[in-house]
Structure formats: structure tokens, C-alpha cells
């Protein structure tokens, strides 16, 4: 009995993990979720609570002038309680993205933003030359830029060098739910980066989030995997646990893979 590891030991190892810090903001959860595609803002708010996420992405759009009384995101999700991360979804040029985020800063009063400059509606892959150019413009203008990018380590390094506060490579195309398609590149980006690396896009189910975290990512950002699950609130809870499991698994360090079996019970003392 005295040989058994105590709970206190394992708990202290878990607690030894440092929290995720992005541009000076400490996040209690390594899961960041989007707020698009839900059946309602009410469902969105319940999923958010179940996910344990503290940061959410939001979009900037024209106010509906024909119905000023339509439900508003901020009536269901309190910007004082959660960190709103305005995005540039739907922007296809650097100028569009900069214009959108300047408006977001005016509307919200904060400078932490998610930059994404897309190329082709078919695959929504980021246009990396425009992304790099827009990131430079935004950083010069005083923004803290979390940047959605391709899984190319060369561009990821350039984005870090110009001052992006988080590198967010895609795991798979936005909304595809295909899971992490290029773990080799994601790991290269993690190894070279000194700012947080957050896999953004491509997660389809809980095990995908765990795979991303086991690679050593600092966090995972997802939207469709939760919003388009049959039960989004339950999937949000699954994602919360998946991210924690992946993080702890990464910190714990997995056993080496072997080509042959290795019995778990002692071979000596067999009757």
C-alpha cells in the first residue's frame, strides 16, 4: 500500500502546467470556441458554458436596420465575462481585414484580434502573402494579432518574427471536420515557436482535439465541430475533456511504441 502513488503527487504534476497566456491575458482553458452556425444564441451560450472556454471568436457584420430588435450575441454572452476575439472571417484582402478589425476595436474597445485573410471560397485556405501584409499593418496600428495561417513552418516563423502574439495553423480546411491532416508540420511549428501555437480549424470530433493537444499545441480553436454536432452542448463538454486529456497526455509523455507485445503481468512466479 505504501508503494502506491498518492493522488497528491499526480495532482501536483497536473497543477505544474502553466496556464495559456496570449498577449498578457491568462486563459483558464486551452479551448477557444467560435460562435457561428448555432441554432440560436441561447444554444450557443449553453455550449460555451459546457465547453469551459474563456475566449470566443466573434464576427463583425452590418447591423440589421430593418429589425433592430433581433436577438444580439451580447444579450446571451457577456463581453465582461468572456474574452471576445473579433475575427476577419470573410475577408479576402489585407485592406478588408484591417478595416474590419479597426471597426471591431471601436465597437468593443479592445485590441486583441484574430486575423484571417482567405483566398478561395472552395477551400478557405489562408492567403499567406496577404495575411503577412495585413498582420504587419495591424501590429503597426497597435493590435495584438492572433493569426490564422497555413501549416507552413516558414510562414509561421515570419508571422512570429513580425510580432504576432499567437500562431494558429489550420488542422484541416475550415468547417471540414477532417481532423489534423499534417501533424508533421504542426509539430515543426510548435517546436520553433516561442509564442502560443493554437490549432485553428479542422477539428471534427473530440479525438481530433486530443491529437492536436498531444502534438504539444498550446490550445485548440473550433466552431463547427461543436455547433454542427447533433447535440452541441454535449459535444462542447466532450471537447473540454478532450483538450484537457490531450494536454495531460502531452505533459505526461507517452510510452515508446514497440513492434511486438510486451506482457503487462510479471513472467516470473507463474504457477
Amino acid at each position: 500500500m505504501t508503494q502506491a502513488p498518492t493522488m497528491t503527487q499526480s495532482q501536483s504534476q497536473i497543477l505544474a502546467d502553466k496556464p495559456l497566456v496570449v498577449a498578457g491575458r491568462t486563459l483558464g482553458s486551452r479551448l477557444i470556441i467560435g460562435t457561428g452556425k448555432y441554432a440560436s444564441y441561447e444554444q450557443n451560450a449553453r455550449a460555451l458554458e459546457a465547453s469551459g472556454a474563456e475566449m470566443i471568436t466573434v464576427a463583425i457584420r452590418r447591423v440589421n436596420l430593418s429589425d433592430p430588435s433581433e436577438p444580439r450575441l451580447v444579450d446571451f454572452i457577456d463581453p465582461e465575462k468572456y474574452i471576445f476575439l473579433p475575427n476577419t472571417a470573410g475577408c479576402f484582402t489585407g485592406e478588408d481585414a484591417v478595416r474590419t478589425l479597426r471597426l471591431a476595436r471601436e465597437a468593443g474597445g479592445w485590441s486583441l484580434v484574430k486575423l484571417e485573410v482567405l483566398s478561395d471560397p472552395k477551400h478557405l485556405y489562408p492567403d499567406m502573402t496577404e495575411t503577412l501584409r495585413a498582420a504587419e499593418l495591424l501590429i503597426k496600428d497597435g493590435f495584438d494579432v492572433m493569426v490564422y495561417c497555413s501549416d507552413d513552418p516558414v510562414f509561421a516563423r515570419k508571422l512570429e518574427e513580425i510580432g504576432c502574439c499567437a500562431i494558429m495553423p489550420l488542422g484541416a480546411p475550415i468547417g471540414s471536420g477532417l481532423g489534423i491532416q499534417n501533424p508533421v508540420n504542426i509539430r515543426l511549428i510548435i517546436e520553433q515557436s516561442s509564442v502560443p501555437v493554437i490549432v485553428d480549424a479542422g477539428v471534427g470530433t473530440a479525438s481530433d482535439a486530443t491529437v492536436a493537444m498531444e502534438l504539444g499545441c498550446d490550445g485548440v480553436l473550433m466552431n463547427t465541430a461543436i455547433a454542427e454536432a447533433k447535440n452541441p452542448v454535449l459535444m462542447a463538454s466532450a471537447m473540454k475533456h478532450a483538450v484537457i486529456a490531450g494536454r495531460q497526455s502531452y505533459l505526461a509523455g507517452r510510452m515508446p511504441k514497440k513492434r511486438y507485445a510486451d506482457p503487462s503481468s510479471p513472467l516470473s512466479g507463474l504457477i
Binding site: 460562435t35 447591423v63 436596420l65
Partner: protein, 67 residues
């Protein structure tokens, strides 16, 4: 009356109106919005002082759900 374009739609407002008057007429008081006038952001502190002009193109945006 002044002719404006607000979020892509034609709209009239009394001459001499300020940004704050437009925001009030649209029922957007007290909301987390941002206003752009002819591609220039209007700081909230200037809603009460900036006077609208003929053919101004106004964009009024807010946060919505997004990924």
C-alpha cells in the same frame, strides 16, 4: 433633408443631424456598435458633434456569431 447611404440602403435624415441622431433614429442607442463614415471610423466621442453631410456613406456594424 439629406440623402445618405446607411449599410448600403438609401435613407433620409434632417439637415444638421449628427451621428448620434442617426444612431437614435435607427434604435441603436447604447449598443456595442461601430460607425464608419465614408470609410473613416467615427470615434464614439464624436457621435454627438460630427454633423452628417449630403451623400455620406455610413456603415454601422456590431458583433455577431462567427468562427
Amino acid at each position: 433633408m439629406l440623402q445618405l447611404t446607411v449599410n448600403g440602403e438609401a435613407r433620409q435624415i434632417a439637415a444638421g443631424s449628427r451621428i448620434a441622431d442617426l444612431v437614435r433614429e435607427l434604435g441603436l442607442d447604447g449598443r456595442k456598435i461601430a460607425v464608419e463614415r465614408n470609410l473613416e471610423i467615427v470615434a464614439r466621442s464624436r457621435y454627438g458633434t460630427d454633423t452628417l453631410a449630403q451623400d455620406d456613406r455610413i456603415e454601422i456594424v456590431a458583433f455577431v456569431g462567427g468562427g
